[in-house]
Amino acid sequence: MNGAVVWLHGDSLSPTDPALLANPVAPAIFVFDEPFLAAAQLSFKRLFFLYECALEAIAGRTGSIRRGVVVEEVRAFAAEQQATAVHVTASVAPRFRQYVAELRASGLQVVVHELPAFVTWRGEPPRRFSSFWRRVAAEALRPTGTGPVLPAEHDVE
């Protein structure tokens, strides 16, 4: 057993998610976080939007969308796929850090991928956006490429 699975979460739900791109054939999973959602009681619109994003993100590979306890479902999926490593894209959410720690504690290797940076920043942010902007504006306004290939005008649903 040395395979990998990709865990997709609500902060990175794209077919171009860095963890997915780094593992082009790995099975992928997205979990509707049952304890969190049962307490939060979001609108159905939000959950359906996530579902549509997740369906597209996992298309073309072995994929699974589940409801349950995130860490338990990811562990079960890794076991089903005979994987020992979980690849995931970083999030700043405290719940993400907690889940990564729990997955590691369960014996899985967790590899965290970073999103392409918008600006580089080290240390604590200032307390006001205006000071932040003054310090990052030049970099923020410097493109690193031409962006994604956009669909043709006639490509509508």
Binding site: S12, F48, E56
Partner: protein, 271 residues
């Protein structure tokens, strides 16, 4: 529990998910008109014309905004690729620079969230001014979008039915709830978070704190003139309170005094 991924039409997916996620959502099982997924995100990005953005972005009627926030919030599009696409297609202009500046707000909120974690859901700083109105819970007329104020009700109705609200309207509603009604910002933020497709803990809670002055140097207020100007007069033209009783129909000087008991200069921290 494994969910189905083989249904092809949106209607089938909606009907299925409504049952499969039973107990995990509140309200009707209707989808937003805004579609999820990378393909829809790229279509939206292609459709956005940044020319005129600096002038029209605050106009609730003209809608000069990109409406990309649901996709950016869920990582379907990254800030970097949106920036790159807009600059490469429209060049460096005051409009695209303003747009990138708005993208940077999200980067800023995320850095604050990384630093403070769940403490973003508590007052980050003491309020610079507190409204004089008695504190109260979120009133039913807000939940029902039936306050009688067309600018507020139509903005709330859009939120409840589409999962989206224009940024300027968010500022009006957030200020109205906090400074006119006396609702704690956490209750308002919770309401928005439950409905907004772009609902993000950091952007949402920190923006509510920005309006309330617990993460800014002054409370944000607005008046009728602002609503008229940035809605093309549409809301007020249909509002039964336009001819009398509009709580926003006053000068900023008078509103500062009425709502906070201070002069406008004091409200803005100028003395």
């Amino acid at each position: 529990m494994q969910l189905r991924t083989d249904l092809t039409t949106r209607a089938e997916q909606v009907a299925y998910l409504a049952g499969a996620l039973d107990g995990l959502y509140a309200g009707p099982a209707t989808p937003a008109p805004i579609r999820g997924g990378r393909r829809a995100a790229l279509r939206r990005l292609r459709a956005f014309d940044a020319r005129g953005y600096a002038r029209t972005r605050n106009d609730v009627a003209k809608r000069g905004v990109s409406a990309l926030s649901p996709y950016i919030r869920h990582g379907v599009l990254t800030l970097a690729e949106v920036r790159d696409s807009i600059l490469s297609r429209f060049g460096h202009t005051p409009d695209t620079e303003k747009f990138v500046n708005e993208l940077a707000w999200r980067a800023f909120w995320q850095l604050v969230y990384a630093q403070l974690g769940d403490r973003i859901h508590q007052d980050i700083e003491p309020a610079k001014q507190r409204a004089r109105v008695a504190r109260r819970r979120l009133p039913p007329e807000v939940i029902e979008a039936a306050t009688g104020l067309v600018c507020i009700d139509e903005s709330l109705h859009e939120l409840y039915t589409t999962g989206y609200m224009h940024n300027h309207a968010r500022m009006w509603v957030a200020a109205y709830l906090q400074h006119w009604l006396g609702v704690d910002w956490r209750e308002g933020a919770d309401l928005f978070y439950r409905h907004l497709l772009d609902g993000d803990p950091a952007s949402n809670s920190l923006s509510w704190q920005w309006v309330g002055s617990t993460f800014s140097h002054k409370p944000y207020i607005f008046n009728r003139q602002n609503v008229e100007r940035f809605s093309g007069g549409e809301f007020c033209a249909r509002c039964p309170l336009a001819s009398g009783g509009c709580p926003f129909d006053d000068s900023y000087e008078n509103l500062a005094l009425r709502l906070f008991g201070v002069s406008l200069a004091e409200l803005e921290g100028r003395r």
